[in-house]
């Protein structure tokens, strides 16, 4: 049980894909202009990562080493397409806003990295815990990034006006440079808290 919890929390804190490993940064930088976009992107990743980890783990004994990568890609692409079509059916407006970034989950390296590094070597329950933890870590990072950017760049949170009318939004925050600035401060802030400095 302890081990399961460690696997699960690993992706949220120690090896948070966005804020610790800094991999798969395309979607985190691009879709975090609004909290609601970050949330739905996170949901899609939670589904794809957990499902692909589960299936890769189940198939780990029948998949020959030589063709494991194409098989992982087929599995991931299938779940991504399922997520894309489902999102389009239940949330057409959000789907239109996220645009190409949902299909791009296929090439998000977190998914393939977890399949290769974890799910193909561990049992089903551990792999699901790992997938859920990693995806939740991803989602939380997106929500933090998007909250900062939407608040400062548009004066709203989840579309609601939360700042006084006298607040003049800094539009740069929801433009691409704002994504890098926010990410930079987040990463350095996190290093400050955890006591890791740049010189190790």
């Amino acid at each position: 049980m302890k081990k399961l919890w460690n696997t699960f929390s690993n992706g949220i804190i120690n090896e948070n894909p966005v804020l610790r490993l800094v991999i798969g940064m395309c979607a985190p930088l691009a879709v975090t202009t609004a909290v609601v976009n970050g949330f739905w992107m996170g949901i899609a990743v939670i589904f794809v990562l957990t499902a692909s980890n589960a299936l890769v783990s189940l198939l780990r004994k029948v998949v020959p080493a030589e063709i494991r990568i194409p098989i992982f890609i087929v599995v991931i692409a299938t779940f991504t397409t399922v997520a894309d079509l489902t999102l389009k059916a239940i949330q057409p407006e959000i789907h239109a806003k996220l645009g190409v970034f949902v299909p791009l989950i296929v090439v998000n390296c977190i998914i393939l990295a977890r399949a290769e590094a974890f799910a193909s070597k561990n049992n089903l329950i551990q792999s699901v815990a790992d997938g859920l933890g990693m995806a939740l870590g991803f989602t939380l990072s997106l929500l933090i990034l998007a909250s900062i950017r939407e608040l400062l760049g548009n004066g709203t949170w989840w579309g609601f006006n939360v700042l006084p009318a006298s607040f003049e939004p800094a539009v740069v925050m929801i433009l691409p440079p704002g994504a890098f600035v926010t990410l930079g401060y987040l990463l350095s802030g996190l290093n400050l808290i955890t006591g890791k400095s740049g010189d190790n």
Binding site: V74, L85, P92
Partner: protein
Amino acid sequence: MQSPVRLGLILMTICIVAAGLLAFTNAKTGPIIAQNEQQQLETALRELLPEAETFEPDEEEDKVFYRGRRGEAEVGIVAVFSQTGFGGLMKLALGVNKDGEVTGFQILQHAETPGLGAKITEEEFICQFVGKSANDDFILGQDIQGISGATISSESVTDCVKTLAAEIRDKYDLGSNG
């Protein structure tokens, strides 16, 4: 190294299962997606030309004209049209009544910059077009107040409305004496 045939067969089996799952998902979500799009279109048509009761599509290469009818009489046209903006293709819909007057305008889809160009979908910008005549000049800065920080998006939308309104007027001979 295992035999290539065996490897191929394993990969094929997995692909067949994947294709099956995708076919299932598509069958489940396809009708909902089509229905959503149809609904969005119908709502837009109704808002753009409230006078009309029925719409009859009249398709051309890159645009669709909907001839709005009330009973037998033709009351106006709604055109659905794509145009390149600042961030990529935009899908616009413009309603013009039989007097050549713009009755409504909507942006159905766009990929403009959030917070800047995306403001073209806001009421404040959109409603400037309503009530204009197809014969008007639609000059940005005079007739239409553009969005600051989003010149290209504003220009693109304004040009598009102007061209389209004129095209509808000529094609269907609307408000020709006005």
